[in-house]
């Protein structure tokens, strides 16, 4: 039971963000109205994706120095779960955009950056499937992964800030933090984000444990 405490914490934090996210006080702003509460659920998806991709990069580096197949398995499962959260982030963002900007998708640097980032990580999975030999696959995809992560940072954080963007927090547009004068939104967003990150890591460990057993069965059979 000792191992489960952080999983319980994750569930409690997300439950808190659902309850306080819907009932708590938010600043009244034109156009966004009550949809400002989406911040509590849309933003943590991206935080979780980033955390999982960082885990993936760390384990890719570990694989290159150790050549232990288990490190490669952690790296790939982190990307697998990270992409799920990335898709959730894209879908919730598109839904939100449709009711505030009037369209599901615009050629906004932040949105296009996120799309390119998604494709880059899908390419990682395609690359893995294209390589037959196990060690070669692990090594090449680890190197690809280490290069993909800084490019993702550039596309999602640096480029949108240098040009005009509709997206809050990007260039020429303030984030919602500026309107959150008493910090009541931060008090919901950050605990919720930690909760979602822990849930993402939990899902990753589950997938990794199953994958590890599959791998053991594969190598054990003559």
């Amino acid at each position: 039971m000792k191992k489960y405490w952080w999983k319980v914490l994750a569930v409690l934090l997300v439950l808190y963000s659902i309850i306080m996210g819907l009932l708590g006080h938010v600043p009244a702003l034109p156009i966004v109205n009550e949809t400002i509460r989406n911040v509590y659920f849309h933003v943590p998806m991206w935080f979780t994706m980033f955390t999982l991709y960082i885990v993936s990069v760390v384990y890719s580096i570990k694989y290159l120095s150790s050549a232990k197949p288990h490190h490669d398995l952690v790296a790939v499962e982190s990307v697998n779960v990270g992409i799920v959260f990335c898709i959730f982030g894209l879908l919730t963002g598109m839904l939100w955009a449709n009711f505030t900007w009037g369209t599901f998708w615009t050629n906004d640097p932040q949105l296009n950056g996120a799309a390119i980032g998604t494709l880059m990580y899908l390419a990682y999975l395609v690359l893995r499937n294209a390589l037959e030999e196990e060690q070669k696959r692990a090594r090449i995809s680890a190197i690809y992964n280490i290069f993909a992560f800084p490019i993702l940072i550039v596309f999602m954080y640096i480029l949108p800030k240098t040009t005009d963007s509709l997206h809050p927090g990007a260039g020429g547009n303030s984030g919602f933090g500026e309107f959150d004068l008493d910090g009541s939104m931060k008090a919901v967003l950050y605990p919720g984000a930690i909760g979602w990150i822990l849930i993402g890591v939990w899902l990753m460990t589950l997938r990794y444990r199953i994958r590890k057993m599959e791998y053991q069965n594969l190598t054990a059979t003559p």
């Binding site: 489960y4 999983k7 569930v11 997300v14 439950l15 659902i18 309850i19 819907l22 009932l23 938010v26 600043p27 009244a28 702003l29 034109p30 109205n33 009550e34 849930i199 939990w202 899902l203 589950l206 444990r209 199953i210 057993m213 053991q216 069965n217």
Partner: protein, 72 residues
Amino acid sequence: MKKTILSLLLVINGLMCSFAQSSAGVEMATGLRSSGKIYVVVAVLVVLFAGLAVYLFTIDRKVSRVEKQQER
């Protein structure tokens, strides 16, 4: 000096008034929250998420069980 301070204060006051009006005119679901049964939606979401969480715990336990079998 006094005049400039006074006029500055007037400008600030005017700005504050205009901002106050723009935010007061925004329609928020404050009425909904008191009588619009928003708690029902909160309860539904809590039930859904709690259910999924319990399900996740059972999957976790199952994986642990299979892992133990594997070790034998």
